[in-house]
């Protein structure tokens, strides 16, 4: 039973988080930041593209290091 629960949890972790947890964490943080800025008078649309420019190279660098 414990093994099945573990396998079930592993499936959903792989499905939703994938190979690099930093990407999922970064998405959550950047969306939270976008929401926070959108509540002010400052435009918030640029935050997500900036996040992409930062997170993709970092995640790729982590991917190459694993090799």
């Amino acid at each position: 039973m414990a093994k099945r629960i573990q396998a079930f949890a592993a499936f959903w972790y792989d499905f939703l988080i994938g190979d690099d947890w930093l990407v999922a964490a970064g998405v959550a943080v950047s969306l939270g930041l976008t929401y926070w800025v959108s509540q002010t008078a400052v435009p918030a649309w640029w935050l997500m593209p900036v996040f992409l420019l930062l997170i993709l190279p970092v995640s790729l660098w982590r991917g190459t290091r694993r090799g």
């Binding site: 994938g18 690099d20 990407v23 976008t34 509540q39 993709l56 790729l60």
Partner: protein, 249 residues
């Protein structure tokens, strides 16, 4: 999002998943029993169709802003994972997805199992292998159909696009009965990763309360912008030392 763009995005994403599912079904059929493999595939497709029919109206009924936030976040996570893998493969830092190798491994694993017939199918293992493969790959198809369809207010068109992709790939697989090695799967994954990332960025930011300059037209800058950035990453990684790593499942 226009109907044409919705159809193309869902069709491409689902075709990639369908190629992987087809490899598993073909392996189950070749190594075990074709009738059992076909039954497993049909059972999984029926289950996935029920999930879409049940969840489609429910997802569409959610408030648009909340839907876009959740869907944008999930699409962005999915898209970045796909794009990351595609860039690593294109730059030689990760082994290319090889359907021939996966097919051979699946056949070898399936051939070693004892045959267990039951009242419904001649070979239970072949049925279960095919059912599981189609169901797991199909869950991503369902996710893409529901998220893209709900955001574009057209789950039906997204479902038709997915069904067309599955039908085309399944027909090709049934015709050749070998892995679909000529499908440019790695290139397709690169394109799909760019599209999922672009739409996830757009919808996620909108759901979080941001307003894009030019509204929907911002996608016309996001898609090529992300594509150029991804290609630049490939070029940059190719310039460095390359150590191809083993294929991940």
């Amino acid at each position: 999002m226009g109907a044409g763009a919705l159809f193309v995005a869902v069709f491409l994403a689902c075709a990639v998943e369908a190629v992987e599912a087809t490899t598993i079904v073909l392996a189950a059929g070749a190594a075990r029993d074709w009738r059992s493999a076909a039954s497993g595939m049909a059972g999984a497709l029926a289950f996935l169709a029920i999930v879409v029919a049940a969840l489609g109206p429910a997802v569409s009924a959610l408030p648009l802003r909340g839907l876009r936030l959740v869907v944008g976040a999930l699409l962005l996570v999915f898209g970045l994972q796909w794009l990351r893998k595609a860039i690593l493969r294109a730059s030689g830092h990760k082994a290319l997805h090889d359907e021939d190798k996966i097919f051979a491994e699946q056949v070898a694993a399936a051939a070693g199992q004892p045959r267990r017939p039951n009242r419904l199918v001649p070979d239970w293992y072949g049925f279960a292998l095919s059912f599981k493969g189609v169901l797991l790959e199909g869950l991503e198809v369902v996710f893409i159909v529901l998220t893209f369809g709900a955001n574009a207010h057209d789950v039906a068109l997204a479902a038709v696009a997915a069904a067309c992709a599955v039908a085309v790939v399944a027909a090709a697989g049934a015709a050749v009965r070998t892995p679909l090695r000529r499908v440019p799967e790695n290139a397709m994954k690169f394109v799909v990763g760019i599209m999922l990332t672009a739409f996830g960025t757009f919808w996620g930011a909108e759901g979080a309360g941001a307003h894009w300059p030019g509204s929907d037209a911002a996608l016309l800058a996001l898609v090529p912008g992300i594509a150029l950035f991804a290609l630049a990453m490939v070029a940059l990684l190719r310039a460095g030392p390359v150590t191809a790593v083993a294929e991940e499942p």
